[in-house]
């Protein structure tokens, strides 16, 4: 039922209660983000300085972009634990092409196209060979990770052409990853809410049999969802790989967990059928902000992960409490 509530275009009245009902988790995350900004900014002015805000928003934008696709996959009732390895592979492919002198748009496009191809294949194994998503993507994780290290031997890619470093471009004074994350989130949210295909993703995740009975082509839709997820992974890889002057040709550690966590904390139910990509983007930014604020609040770097883990747990428990009250 929550899927219907979240997706129904019925909040024209702008009633606060109805808004909270439809976007409860998103508002909780937004509130937490604002509270964190105010508290950290009061304690340490430099937290709200331009440099730090840039690093919070821009530095975590690739997680947010990847989490858009992950949210769609989870809403459709599946999961992808290979996305971190895939992003490592795609960033390496893109950087290698750029260094070898291919036109820069080819290097960028290759990341997106290979991302789509790999995830469409993954989706096909899930939809047509009927292997559970966690099994397929565990296998893909090994294949991509092992393949990447075998191919590169961990050598760093240096001497990237300046024109390739997309993540360092600015538009209207704001770094490009922020634009990508914001624009893609809005487009994806509108697409999922107002198009038939977008709505059918909720239907498949909510109840696959009912979706099939309602005439939704569930199998092609699952492949499509994974292909779209690959598209976002491709963009995330370019943003990730162009942050610095080098690409490390390794799999970023725990990236898949960060992406899945952003989706889930953002309100996407792991059981499928509910959630929005707005929540996952806000959650990705929130994690970046928490990490940064702990540094500004002088919490020992060694305790960072523990505090972050506690906060994730608190958010999950609060969400479960809110849901059980709502139902």
């Amino acid at each position: 039922m929550e899927a219907v509530a979240a997706a129904a275009p019925a909040r024209k009245g702008g009633r606060l209660a109805r808004l909270f009902g439809a976007y409860g988790q998103e508002l909780v995350i937004l509130g937490a983000l604002l509270a964190l900004m105010v508290v950290s900014g009061t304690v340490n002015r430099r937290f709200l300085g331009e440099n730090n805000l840039n690093s919070i928003f821009s530095g975590n934008a690739y997680v947010a972009v990847a989490a858009i696709g992950m949210s769609m996959v989870i809403i459709a009732g599946h999961i992808d634990v290979s996305v971190g390895s895939l992003i490592g592979v795609l960033a390496t492919i893109s950087g290698t092409l750029a260094v070898r002198g291919y036109p820069i748009w080819v290097a960028w496009l290759a990341s997106v196209l290979v991302g789509i191809a790999v995830e469409a294949f993954t989706g096909a194994l899930i939809a047509y060979a009927r292997i559970p998503a966690i099994v397929v993507t565990l296998g893909m994780l090994s294949i991509l990770k092992g393949g990447l290290i075998s191919a590169t031997q961990g050598a760093w890619i240096t001497n990237l052409p300046p024109g390739f470093l997309l993540a360092q471009f600015r538009f209207l004074g704001i770094l490009s990853p922020v634009w990508f994350a914001a624009v893609l989130t809005v487009l994806a949210a509108l697409w999922m809410r107002y198009t038939a295909v977008g709505r059918s993703i909720y239907a498949i995740g909510g109840n696959p049999d009912a979706a099939r009975a309602a005439g939704i082509q569930t199998r092609p839709t699952v492949v499509l969802v994974f292909a779209i997820h690959g598209f976002f992974a491709g963009i995330a890889a370019v943003l990730f790989g162009t942050q610095l002057q080098v690409i490390q040709s390794t799999v970023p550690p725990n990236l898949e967990l960060n992406v899945i966590t952003a989706s889930v904390i953002g309100g996407v139910s792991i059981l499928g059928g509910t959630g929005t990509v707005i929540g996952s983007t806000l959650a990705a930014v929130l994690f970046g902000a928490i990490g940064s604020s702990l540094i500004f609040l002088n919490v020992s770097a060694y305790w960072l992960k523990a505090v972050l883990g506690l906060m994730i747990l608190a958010t999950v428990l609060a969400d479960m409490a809110r849901r059980s009250r709502a139902s």
């Binding site: 999961i79 634990v81 194994l125 060979a129 009927r130 292997i131 559970p132 966690i134 099994v135 397929v136 565990l138 296998g139 893909m140 994780l141 090994s142 294949i143 990770k145 092992g146 393949g147 990447l148 290290i149 075998s150 550690p253 967990l257 899945i260 966590t261 889930v264 792991i270 059981l271 020992s300 060694y302 305790w303 960072l304 992960k305 523990a306 505090v307 972050l308 883990g309 506690l310 994730i312 747990l313 999950v316 428990l317 479960m320 409490a321 059980s324």
Partner: protein, 316 residues
């Protein structure tokens, strides 16, 4: 398909055949593969993941998952070092407390899953970050070395011609297989995973079963941590990271359904052996460690694909 043929083609049989084929092929690639020394050494390397995989089999049969096992291993490992070296406790006490801390971490997972109804994937995703964070915070990312000589017997010593931890793994495997296959608790485990509501109405203590299983998973990760520390002679806070994926791969490869309600300890052991044989055999045949990861991934997908094609029994 006649029942006998279907039974013949069940997942464990296919997997056992695959293990045999892999062993034969790998043995032709290197003379050192089928030596007693290599096989015993592989058993030593397999023990930690093997122990955790046994309890993970129970967890997955209940329809759950425990992603935090690697972090619990890391936390228990640094506790051995910190309790002994920094707090000055006797080493045996530190070892027991570390295993106990693993059990406590598992109990917390179980409470979050049963009391707060948080899906296990999310609950253990959160505690994965939390426990690893505690390990980093408590150890301040410093390693502890210089344990007394007797301590290394656990991870490096032999007993009656076999590595000590292989004995531990054997005993634990027999116990796990017995509990899962022969006891009421084992039946309850399957019942919870197959249909929770039906299990509840049949009088199965669903929450207590889950709680015990997650606690056992934590305890086993703690035990694996002590063996790990003894084997590598040092503690570091990043120990066991990525263990969850290795363990889940072995369990799923062994035919335990990720949806719950189906699976055996025998299957898990076959999955473990296949993975370890591939690791050892391919590296002896000259394939680099990263290449073997690729093969393990392919085998995982391939094995489930084949067993889906043969063993269509309605789920999937």
């Amino acid at each position: 398909m006649p029942t006998s043929l279907r039974r013949l083609l069940r997942h464990e049989t296919i997997l056992a055949a695959l293990v045999v084929v892999a062993l034969v092929v790998l043995a032709t690639q290197s003379e050192r593969f089928f030596t007693a020394a290599n096989i015993l050494n592989q058993g030593r390397l397999m023990a930690e993941a093997g122990l955790v995989a046994l309890t993970m089999t129970f967890v997955i049969i209940t329809g759950g998952i425990d992603l935090s096992v690697g972090s619990i291993l890391g936390l228990a490992a640094i506790l051995v070092g910190v309790l002994w070296k920094n707090l000055g406790l006797a080493l045996p006490v530190a070892m027991v407390l570390a295993v106990g801390a693993g059990g406590l971490a598992g109990l917390v997972n179980g409470l979050i899953v049963t009391r707060f109804k948080v899906p296990p994937l999310i609950a253990t995703l959160a505690t994965l970050a939390l426990y690893r964070g505690l390990a980093e915070g408590i150890s301040q990312s410093r390693s502890v070395r210089g344990y007394p000589e007797w301590f290394y017997a656990l991870g490096q010593g032999d007993a009656a011609g076999m590595p000590v931890q292989v004995w531990i793994l054997l005993v634990a495997t027999v116990a796990a297989a017995g509990i899962l296959g022969l006891t009421t608790f084992g039946r309850a485990t399957y019942a919870v995973g197959a249909n929770e509501t039906a299990a509840r109405f049949s009088g199965v203590a669903v929450d207590r079963t889950r709680l015990l299983i997650y606690t056992a998973s934590g305890l086993m990760s703690g035990l694996a941590a002590v063996i790990f520390v003894s084997r590598v002679t040092t503690t570091r806070s990043d120990m066991g990271s990525g263990l969850e994926l290795d363990v889940i791969t072995a369990v799923v490869l062994g035919g335990t359904s990720i949806f719950g309600g189906k699976g055996t300890v025998v299957g898990t052991v076959l999955g473990l052996v296949l993975i370890q044989a591939l690791r050892s055999g391919l590296s002896l045949a000259g394939v680099k460690g990263d290449g073997t990861i690729v093969v393990i991934g392919l085998v995982l997908i391939g094995a489930i694909l084949v067993s889906n094609v043969f063993g269509r029994d309605g789920d999937g």
